[in-house]
C-alpha cells in the first residue's frame, strides 16, 4: 500500500498488514474522524512527537503506573506501555458496540443465574450437562447459593477485534475479575494531558460518569444499610494488576483489603480494623473465585477468607462478581450463545461471535478433526494450559499428534475460526507503524441493566504483523476515544471540559449516593508505621553516608580526619561497613568500595539501598493510602538510590546522596502537609518519631559521647561537629549560641531542647501525643495488661529522664539514661504491634 501523505499526516504509513486499518481506508484515504483528529494535532514532526511521548512516559513513571509480570527480570514492576495516539471510534459506531456489550452482559448474567440455580437450560437440553461438569470453573459449592436480585455479573469486560468486514467481533469475555478499567482511566489521564488541545477539540466522551455510576451501584448492593462498607479484595502487591487495584480503590473511594484483612464471624464478613471488627457489606473482588474461600473452594488458598461462602449463603454480604462467575469465561460455552440469546432474551445476539466448536460433543469433535487446517485450537477453559494452536501452521505429524490429543480428552478443546485483527497507527521511533489492535470494553451493572464505559483499553501488538495481543507478550496500550455522534460540530466549548483530563477521585452526586465508611485495616496501619520507620532510617543513613563521603572525597580539610574517624566509627556501629575500616589507618582506597556498598548494595542488609527498598515495599503495600505526589516522591527516591554506572567515582556517590536528602525531606514534608490527621497519619508519624528518637540515642552511644566529650583531645570538637551535622542542627546551634561548638550547649540542643525539631525530647513528646491519640481511638487490652499504656509509660519515663537537671553535665547519668532508652524504645514498637497488629497476622494452618 502506498504511503499516506494526506492533510495533517506528513509521515509515511504502511497500512498493508491487515485488510482493515482504523485510520486509512483500503483506497488509501484518511477516514474522516481521523482527519479531524490529525488536523487538530497539527503537523506531526518527529521531534515534537518524541517530546510528547517523553512527556507521557514521565507522567506514567511519576504516577507509578505499572504492570507486574511473574518471573520478569525487570523485577516486580514493569512500566505501563502507552502509545499516545488514541484509537478513535465514531459515536455512531460506538452506539452499536455499547448496545451489543449491554446485551451480552445481560445474557451471560442470565446464563450464570440458571447454571448456578435451576439449570433449566440443561434440563431442556439447550446446553449439554457435560459443558459444566467437564469445566473446573463450574464451582459446585456456589450452586444453589442465592444471589440478591439474581445479579452474578456486576462488572464485565469483553475483548473485541475488528474483522475484515469492518464489524467488531467478540474474542473473549472476562467475567471472573475483569481487569483493565483502571489502566484505561490512567491512559486517559495521561493522554488528555499530553494532547490536551486535541482532546478538547475532539469532544471525547468522559469516563468519569461511568465510575460514578458504578460506585453508586456498589453501595446500593447493600439494601437496608445506610452506610455500607464496600471493600476491594486484592490478592496483594505481587499480583499482575495491583497498581490497578489500588488505583480503583482510591478512585471509587473504597477500602483496599487483602484476604487476611477480613474475617468471618457468625456468618458475616468483618474488616479487621484498628478499632476492632467492622461489618463488610459488599466485596468487589479482584481475587479469582476459587481462591476466595479456603474452607469450601481451594483448600490451599492463603489469599481468601475462610467462611466467605457461608456468609454469602446467609445473605449477609454481596460479592461482586458472584463467586462462580468465572464459568462464563470458558471458550466451551461460546458456540451456544447465539441460540441461547434468542431463547433467553428473545433477540438476536448483536455482537458477532467467532464461530467455534466445543469438542466435548461428538459431531463437533468430528468437524474440528476434519477442519484442523482452517481452525485455531484453544483450551476449553482456564484450567487447560494451552497457547492457541494455529492449525494452518502445523506440519502433518504435528496435526496427527494434535488429533490424538483431541480424541483423548475432547472436552478440553475448542476449535475456532481465525480472525484478522484490524491495525491502528502506533508511534514507533520516529514514525507511524500499523499494529494489530484489540479493544477491551467494560460494563457495570447499574440499576436493572448495564452501563458501558464510553471508551476502553485498546491493546496493541508489539510489532507489525504480530497477531498475539497481550500485555504479557510485550504489547502496548492506547487510550480509546469515543467521538460525538454528530460528525460536524461547529461549536467547541473549551470551558466545558476540565483542564487536566478526567480522572479525579469519583465524587458521588450529592443526595443520590449513600456515604460509605472508610476504615484503616490493621495491616495498612502496620504498613504505614513501617513506612515511617524506614523512611526515617533512610534519612539517617543518607546523612551519615553523605557526611562520610564528603570528607573522604574532599580530603585534607583541617579537622576532617578526626570527623571522618568519628563518622567511620558510627558506620561500623550501625553495621554499614566492616569493623576493620573503623580504625584510623584505613585508606581511602579501602573505604570507598565499602562505602559504595553501604549506599548501593541491595543485598547488604543495612545499606541505604536495602532500606529504600523497604520503604518502597511498605509504600507499595499501602499505596491506596498515599497521595499521588507522595507516591511520585517514593518512585524518585527509589530511582535515586540506584547506582549511576557512568558517573565518575566521587560524583557517583555524592550526587545521589544530595538528591536523596532532598527527596526524603520532600516525602516528610508531604506527610506533614498533605495527609489527613487520621489514624493512618498517626501510625506513619509514630513510626517516624520512634525511629528518629532511636537514631539519636544510637548516634550518641555509637560516638561514645560520654567518654569522648569528656576527654580533652581534639576528638571532642570533631565529635560535636559530627553530631550537629547528623542531627541537622548546625544552623539552629549557630543562631542560638553564636559561640564555638561546646559540649554543654550541643547536648542541651540535641537532647533536651523542646523547640528543636531534631531533639530527642521533641521526638518523645510527639510520640507520647500520637500514642495517646491511638490508645484513645482503640479500646484495647485489660486493666492488667494494656500494651498501649505500657508504651506510653516508656515514653513518659524517657521524657522525665531527659528533664533531669544534671543530665548534660554528668556523663555517668547521661550514659545510664541513653542505655535505658536504647533498651526500652524498641519495646514501644513491639507493644504497638501487640496492641494493633497481632490479630491481623494470624496465618491459616
Amino acid at each position: 500500500m502506498p504511503s499516506e501523505h494526506e492533510a495533517g499526516c506528513e509521515l509515511p504509513y504502511d497500512r498493508s498488514v491487515s485488510p482493515y486499518d482504523e485510520m486509512v481506508t483500503g483506497q488509501g484515504r484518511m477516514r474522516p474522524h481521523w482527519k479531524q483528529f490529525l488536523s487538530s494535532l497539527g503537523p506531526i514532526y518527529p521531534d515534537q512527537m518524541i517530546e510528547r511521548w517523553e512527556g507521557a512516559r514521565r507522567l506514567l513513571r511519576q504516577n507509578g503506573v505499572t504492570y507486574n509480570i511473574y518471573g520478569d527480570p525487570q523485577g516486580i514492576e514493569r512500566p505501563w506501555p502507552l502509545d499516545l495516539i488514541p484509537l478513535l471510534i465514531t459515536g455512531d459506531e460506538w452506539r452499536q458496540i455499547e448496545t451489543g456489550v449491554m446485551q451480552r452482559a445481560q445474557l451471560l448474567n442470565a446464563l450464570l443465574a440458571d447454571l448456578y440455580g435451576p439449570q433449566t437450560l440443561i434440563r431442556s437440553g439447550r446446553l449439554p450437562a457435560s459443558l459444566i461438569y467437564a469445566d473446573p470453573s463450574f464451582r459446585r459449592p456456589c450452586h444453589g447459593v442465592s444471589v440478591p436480585g439474581g445479579q452474578y455479573l456486576h462488572f464485565y469486560s469483553v475483548d473485541l477485534a475488528r474483522g475484515d468486514d469492518g464489524r467488531w467481533w467478540v474474542l473473549g469475555d472476562r467475567t471472573n475479575t475483569p481487569s483493565g478499567a483502571g489502566y484505561a482511566l490512567e491512559n486517559r489521564s495521561v493522554v488528555s494531558q499530553v494532547l490536551s488541545e486535541t482532546y478538547r477539540y475532539c469532544q471525547v466522551e468522559r469516563l468519569n460518569p461511568f465510575f460514578v455510576a458504578f460506585r453508586e451501584s456498589l453501595s446500593a448492593l447493600a439494601p437496608g444499610v445506610d452506610t455500607p462498607r464496600v471493600v476491594l479484595l486484592t490478592p496483594g502487591p505481587y499480583t499482575e494488576t495491583y497498581f490497578e487495584h489500588a488505583y480503583l480503590a482510591r478512585q471509587l473511594g473504597i477500602t483496599l483489603v487483602e484476604g487476611e484483612d477480613l474475617a468471618v464471624r457468625d456468618r458475616r464478613v468483618f474488616l479487621k480494623t484498628l478499632s476492632g471488627l467492622e461489618p463488610v457489606n459488599v466485596i468487589l473482588r479482584r481475587l479469582d473465585d476459587d481462591f476466595c474461600d479456603p474452607l469450601e473452594l481451594r483448600a490451599d488458598s492463603s489469599l481468601g477468607v475462610a467462611g466467605l461462602l457461608q456468609a454469602v449463603r446467609a445473605g449477609t454480604v454481596v460479592v461482586a462478581n458472584a463467586l462462580g462467575s468465572g464459568l462464563m469465561e470458558s471458550m466451551s460455552c461460546k458456540s451456544f450463545l447465539p441460540t441461547l440469546c434468542r431463547h433467553v432474551l428473545g433477540e438476536e445476539l448483536r455482537l458477532p461471535t467467532l464461530a467455534s466448536w466445543w469438542c466435548g460433543q461428538e459431531a463437533e469433535l468430528a468437524f474440528v478433526l476434519d477442519r484442523l487446517d482452517h481452525l485455531v485450537i484453544k483450551g476449553a477453559n482456564r484450567d487447560v494450559v494451552l497457547d492457541p494452536i494455529f492449525g494452518p501452521k502445523l506440519a502433518a505429524a504435528e496435526k496427527d499428534t494434535l488429533r490424538r490429543r483431541l480424541r483423548q480428552r475432547p472436552w478440553d478443546y475448542v476449535g475456532q475460526e481465525q480472525i484478522t485483527l484490524s491495525t491502528a497507527p502506533v508511534w514507533q521511533g520516529r514514525g507511524l507503524q500499523a499494529h494489530h489492535v484489540v479493544l477491551r470494553v467494560f460494563a457495570a451493572a447499574v440499576g436493572s441493566g448495564y452501563a458501558v464505559m464510553p471508551g476502553g483499553l485498546t491493546r496493541v501488538a508489539p510489532e507489525p504483523g504480530r497477531l498475539v495481543v497481550s500485555m504479557h507478550s510485550g504489547g502496548g496500550s492506547k487510550d480509546t476515544w469515543v467521538l460525538p455522534s454528530e460528525r460536524h460540530h461547529q461549536i467547541v466549548s473549551f470551558r466545558a471540559t476540565g483542564a487536566r483530563g478526567d480522572p479525579r477521585p469519583v465524587e458521588p452526586k450529592t443526595g443520590e449516593a449513600k456515604p460509605m465508611v472508610g476504615d484503616l485495616p490493621s495491616r495498612v496501619a502496620d504498613g504505614l508505621f513501617w513506612l515511617g520507620r524506614y523512611a526515617e532510617r533512610c534519612d539517617g543513613a543518607v546523612r551519615l553516608l553523605r557526611g562520610t563521603s564528603t570528607r573522604l572525597i574532599e580530603g585534607d580539610v583541617p579537622g576532617a580526619s578526626d570527623e571522618l574517624a568519628a563518622l567511620l566509627r558510627l558506620l561500623v556501629w550501625n553495621g554499614m561497613i566492616p569493623a576493620e575500616l573503623g580504625s584510623a589507618d584505613a585508606s581511602t582506597r579501602e573505604i570507598l568500595p565499602a562505602l559504595r556498598a553501604a549506599i548501593f548494595d541491595p543485598d547488604h542488609p543495612t545499606s541505604l539501598r536495602a532500606n529504600v527498598q523497604r520503604v518502597y515495599r511498605a509504600a507499595h503495600s499501602v499505596r491506596d493510602r498515599l497521595s499521588r505526589d507522595m507516591w511520585r516522591v517514593i518512585i524518585q527516591i527509589d530511582r535515586e538510590s540506584r547506582p549511576h554506572q557512568s558517573a565518575p567515582e566521587g560524583v557517583a556517590v555524592l550526587e545521589p546522596l544530595d538528591e536523596l536528602v532532598t527527596s526524603l525531606s520532600a516525602l516528610f514534608g508531604l506527610e506533614q502537609e498533605s495527609m489527613t490527621r487520621g489514624p493512618g497519619w498517626r501510625f506513619l508519624t509514630t513510626g517516624r518519631r520512634l525511629e528518629r528518637a532511636s537514631r539519636m540515642v544510637s548516634m550518641m552511644r555509637g560516638l561514645r559521647v560520654t567518654e569522648v566529650l569528656w576527654s580533652e583531645d581534639n576528638r571532642q570538637a570533631a565529635t560535636l561537629e559530627v553530631m550537629l551535622e547528623l542531627a541537622e542542627s548546625f544552623m539552629t546551634y549557630r543562631s542560638r549560641y553564636f559561640a564555638a561548638v561546646q559540649r554543654g550547649p550541643v547536648l542541651q540542643l540535641l537532647l533536651v531542647e523542646p523547640d528543636n525539631p531534631r531533639s530527642l525530647s521533641f521526638q518523645l513528646a510527639l510520640l507520647r501525643d500520637r500514642l495517646a491519640e491511638l490508645a484513645d481511638g482503640a479500646k484495647l487490652g485489660t486493666p492488667t495488661h494494656n500494651p498501649m499504656a505500657n508504651a506510653l509509660r516508656i515514653v513518659e519515663t524517657g521524657l522525665t529522664a531527659l528533664g533531669q537537671p544534671d543530665l548534660v553535665r554528668n556523663p555517668m547519668l547521661l550514659r545510664t539514661t541513653l542505655d535505658t532508652l536504647a533498651a526500652t524504645l524498641p519495646e514501644v514498637s513491639n507493644l504497638l504491634a501487640h496492641a494493633f497488629f497481632s490479630h491481623a497476622f494470624a496465618r491459616s494452618a
Binding site: Q119, A129, S130, Y133, R140, H143, R265, P294, Q310, S844
Partner: protein, 324 residues
C-alpha cells in the same frame, strides 16, 4: 440384576434442605443395625482465636441404607452451626468456634441400618465398551448430575495414559462391565501393599501407581482414575467398616478409621460398590457416609484455623452391631 446402589435424586438444584426422610427399605436381605462413633480431636499446640470446619459425618440414606439417628457434637460448643446439603446431596455441617481454644473435638454418633446387596450375575452386565464415553454425552440434567459428572477429572484425580494402561488388562474387549470391575479391584488388592506410612493426603496418584503402596483412599482414587481414564464414571465413597467381623470372618483392613471405596457405574441406574483395599465387593459390612468425585469433595472434617503450632490430630472410629 446387579447391585442396585441407586443414589437418591441428588439434592441440587433444590435449595439446601434438611436430610430427606428415610425411604422404605427394599424387602430382600437381612438388615444389619449399627451404631458408629467417630471422634476427631485436634490439638493446636496453643490457643487459636477462631476455627471454621466443614463436617461430612452425617450419613446419607440410600436404597440399601437407612439412617435412624445422627448426632454431631462439637466441643467447645461452636458459636455457629449450619447444616446444609452439598452438590452431591450429602449432608454437611458448617461449625465455627469463635473464642480462643487450644483443641477441638468433633464427635459423631450415628445409628444406621444396612442391607446387603442382592446377589447378581456379573456376566449379565453390559460390555464395558458400550458404556465407555456414553457418560459425557448424557443429556438429561438428572442423569448428568447422577452419572455424567463422575467421568471427568476432579481436584485430586487427573487421568493419565499410565492409569489407562494399568486398567487395560482387566478391560478386555466385550467383557461385561462388572467382571472387568471385579478383576481390576482384585488386581489392585494384589498389586498394592497397604502401608499407612507410604502416602499422605497430598500424595499424587502417579506416585501411588509407581510405589504400589498406599491406604484405602489412595486405592479408591487409583481405581476411579483407572475407570475415568477409560471413559467410565466412578464415584468416591467415604464411610465405615464394622469393627468386629461376623463370627468366622476375618477383621477387615481399615476397620478402626474412616474407610473409602469406590462406586462404579454399570449402566442405567446401576452402580457397583467395590473395596480395593480388601479386594471384595461392598456388602452390609460397609456403612456409606458420603460420596463425591474424590476425597476433596467429602473429606470428613475439613478446617481452617488461624494460628496454632505443632498441630496434632487423633481420629477414632468404632462401629458396633446392635441387636442383630
Amino acid at each position: 440384576m446387579p447391585s442396585p446402589d441407586r443414589p437418591d435424586r441428588p439434592a441440587p438444584p433444590s435449595p439446601p434442605a434438611p436430610p430427606p426422610s428415610p425411604p422404605a427399605l427394599p424387602p430382600s436381605g437381612a438388615a444389619v443395625r449399627y451404631r458408629a462413633r467417630h471422634r476427631t480431636r485436634y490439638d493446636y499446640g496453643e490457643d487459636v482465636p477462631v476455627s471454621h470446619h466443614l463436617v461430612h459425618l452425617a450419613t446419607r440414606s440410600h436404597p440399601r441404607q437407612r439412617c435412624r439417628r445422627s448426632l454431631l457434637t462439637v466441643t467447645p460448643t461452636p458459636a455457629v452451626r449450619w447444616d446444609f446439603s452439598d452438590y452431591f446431596g450429602n449432608p454437611v455441617s458448617y461449625v465455627a468456634v469463635q473464642e480462643p481454644h487450644g483443641w477441638l473435638e468433633v464427635a459423631s454418633e450415628i445409628e444406621v441400618e444396612v442391607r446387603p446387596p442382592p446377589p447378581f450375575a456379573a456376566a449379565g452386565t453390559p460390555p464395558w465398551g458400550e458404556l465407555r464415553l456414553l457418560a459425557p454425552a448424557l443429556a438429561g440434567a438428572d442423569e448428568a448430575t447422577a452419572i455424567g459428572q463422575f467421568v471427568f477429572d476432579s481436584t485430586l484425580i487427573r487421568t493419565t495414559a499410565d492409569l489407562a494402561d494399568y486398567a487395560r488388562p482387566s478391560f478386555v474387549r466385550d467383557r461385561p462391565i462388572a467382571e472387568a470391575l471385579i478383576d481390576l479391584n482384585r488386581r489392585i488388592n494384589t498389586d498394592f501393599a497397604f502401608d499407612p506410612t507410604a502416602t499422605t493426603v497430598a500424595t499424587p496418584l502417579a506416585e501411588v501407581l509407581a510405589k504400589r503402596r498406599g491406604v484405602c483412599q489412595d486405592f479408591a482414587h487409583l481405581a476411579i482414575g483407572c475407570l475415568r481414564a477409560l471413559g467410565l464414571p466412578a464415584r468416591y465413597v467415604s464411610g465405615y467398616l464394622r469393627t468386629l467381623p461376623p463370627p468366622g470372618r476375618p477383621r477387615l483392613v481399615g476397620a478402626d478409621v474412616s474407610h473409602a471405596w469406590l462406586s462404579a457405574w454399570c449402566g442405567g441406574d446401576h452402580w457397583l460398590d467395590l473395596c480395593p483395599t480388601n479386594g471384595r465387593l461392598v456388602d452390609a459390612d460397609f456403612i456409606t457416609i458420603a460420596w463425591g468425585r474424590d476425597f476433596d469433595d467429602v473429606s470428613p472434617v475439613r478446617g481452617v484455623i488461624f494460628g496454632g503450632a505443632n498441630q496434632k490430630l487423633l481420629v477414632q472410629v468404632d462401629v458396633e452391631v446392635i441387636d442383630e
